[in-house]
Symmetry: C2
Subunit: 343 residues, 2 copies
DNA sequence: CGCATGAATGTGACCGGTCACACAAGGCGC
DNA sequence: GCGCCTTGTGTGACCGGTCACATTCATGCG
């Protein structure tokens, strides 16, 4: 252990080499586990490393070797539950693999701003993971220069993506399908949908899962209400829907939206689930404790983050385990906010 | 612009130098804005930079200069609203200053695990910001080796900290004081408190603000209920408190806790705010949309994050603006969950 | 008019690692 | 006993920047 408290320049491999009476290259061999080093030599070097408190300089390593053992996560937001959970999953897997995790927030979806952020991420050196659930993220994913190692966390693709696109996703189309079927099975004539902003111009995966379930059941398909990400958007959409007496079931693009809808229905004097059933999406931690508690579909965001990192890891390193996506399937969680329609 | 699509090795300053017909040092001068470069020369260099699509290699810069323009944020969690908002504030300020933001999650509060994370952060090179609201964070803050540039985001210190400790905080003691006074002013005999895990063995700042308000009002001081961070903890604490008929006002250490308490009171058949008033802490985005909507104290977490970065920036660079903490004061937000006690 | 001064530019070393290769010593086959 | 391969170790160049210093040339001043 280094007991000389002085904050001097940290020891380099040459310092260690001098202390151990070998060349710097031998030290390099020891710290990299190279086989042809005599055990006694290795011993001396390890002792010197310990004594000097040597730690390999990550910057120099990155410069010399080209490998930087770092990931930068690009995301439009860090506070939304889903995004934050994905980030946490990525960090967890990265930590296990001794990778550093950087973060870049896409504050605006404007092209030049997005391009600047992508550049910054590229400058950082390592791999890039883009959370592409929203326009900013999708744009960022598209703006990453070819050749850079990048993985996208995306919505369920409309069709199984060609080739081996470096994408991961939770099956949110299936999740929307399940939730919609649940509501229909309760006897509702149809299910209205309050949508999160779609990531592309085309229909989002969640929307299409909902649509598919309606179609299969022969239920009429109301126009989805385009909303925002937060409860305020859900509240606004909910006030609109509350005016329509025929609305008895509402599926929301996420739990925050559902919260806003619940509040709007409450303000409009419509009881849940007595008059209107509501279901959310994501199973955020607070959803179980709302009154009424929220029926929702649990998505494994943390696992999704881990899968994203694993995929990137495989791209960056030959030796990395190339596991298939171990993202668990969505799970419908039925709580108090859904029930049969009023008779 | 670089239009040759080939993904070859990016241009270095020597490539630019050759293209512009100058030495690499001159290129270095141009990109660093050194004054003594002839305008015509500067022009040629800039043209070459543009043509080759040159970008300064951050890794090499860090290695050669020692300055890495990077911050690592150590936090116990990325999904809780307060933590995530602080992170977002840090990132925002860091981005404005062209700093990279890294993140390390303190998954366990165990000493060796914390020490390992701190080491990783130190290895990253730049400054460190520790979110020290919980035992893991506090331990991490203490484990940072002397001499490293570090800023702690802490609870309000018990006494104005000696010297110029590199700490920032929102005035959460004042916030708790305000919330408690609000409840007392409504006529409640006393206010019960459901506490977040205290960051130290001693009493947390929020607890002491609450206690101070009670003392000033001459109200009896019930034993605070020690809880966790999430709604589940609040729920458990709330079920206990609901058994006690004399409880008419409950202050919660954060909004998630308050949510759990609201649910517990609902389950116990006690109306809010008719029989019991509840107040939270933080003003999370969903709190305004709960039913009943939650009275809470808004804390400027984003500003706190920005302040933390500004302070660190000042430590790392002479030239950085050394602004005083611009963290806004806590603001009481009165909503539906608080009212006069039952008569 | 000569020399000190400063602007504009170039050269070599260095940051702390890795990589490619050279080289010495020991074991083995022929 | 000679050559050859293997094992263990050292040397020099390099990654892409910065820094300290040297050099050149024009200018100002005594």
């Amino acid at each position: 252990m280094n007991v000389t408290g002085h904050t001097r320049r940290p020891a380099s491999i040459r310092d260690v080499a001098t202390a151990a009476g070998v060349s710097y290259q031998t030290v390099s061999r020891v710290i990299n586990g190279h086989p042809s080093v005599r055990p006694s030599t290795r011993e001396r070097v390890l002792a010197a490393i310990d004594e000097l408190g040597f730690r390999r300089n990550a910057t120099a390593l990155a410069l010399a070797s080209g490998r930087s053992r770092a990931v930068t996560v690009l995301t439009a937001n860090t506070t939304h539950y889903g995004y934050a959970s994905i980030l946490q999953g990525i960090e967890e897997a990265a930590r296990a693999a001794s990778y550093a995790v950087g973060i870049g927030v896409l504050e605006s979806a404007e092209d030049t701003a997005v391009a600047a952020e992508v550049q910054r991420a590229a400058d950082a050196g390592g791999g890039i993971i883009v959370i592409a659930y929203d326009p900013a993220g999708v744009r960022a994913l598209g703006a990453v220069p070819a050749g850079l190692p990048v993985v996208g966390v995306v919505e369920t693709p409309a069709s199984p993506p060609g080739g081996d696109r470096p994408w991961v996703w939770a099956d949110d189309r299936e999740a929307a399908y399940q939730a919609t079927r649940h509501l229909l099975a309760l006897g509702h004539e149809t299910v209205h949908y309050v949508a999160i902003p779609s990531s592309t111009r085309r229909t989002s995966a969640r929307t299409s899962g909902w649509r598919q379930a309606l179609k299969e059941a022969g239920a009429p398909e109301p126009r989805p209400a385009q909303s925002s990400w937060g409860p305020a958007g859900g509240h606004a959409a909910g006030l609109e829907l509350a005016k329509d007496e025929s609305v008895t079931a509402i599926l929301c693009g996420n739990d925050d939206l559902a919260l806003g809808v619940l509040r709007a229905l409450h303000e409009a004097g419509r009881s849940v689930p007595g008059e209107v059933s509501v279901a959310g999406f994501d199973d955020a931690p607070h959803s179980a404790f709302l009154t009424p508690s929220l029926t929702t579909v649990r998505l494994d965001f943390t696992g999704l983050g881990r899968a994203a990192f694993a995929l990137l890891h495989g791209v960056l390193e030959e030796s990395a385990p190339v596991a298939p996506h171990p993202v668990s399937v969505p799970e419908l969680v039925v709580r108090e906010s859904s029930g049969p329609p009023p008779s």
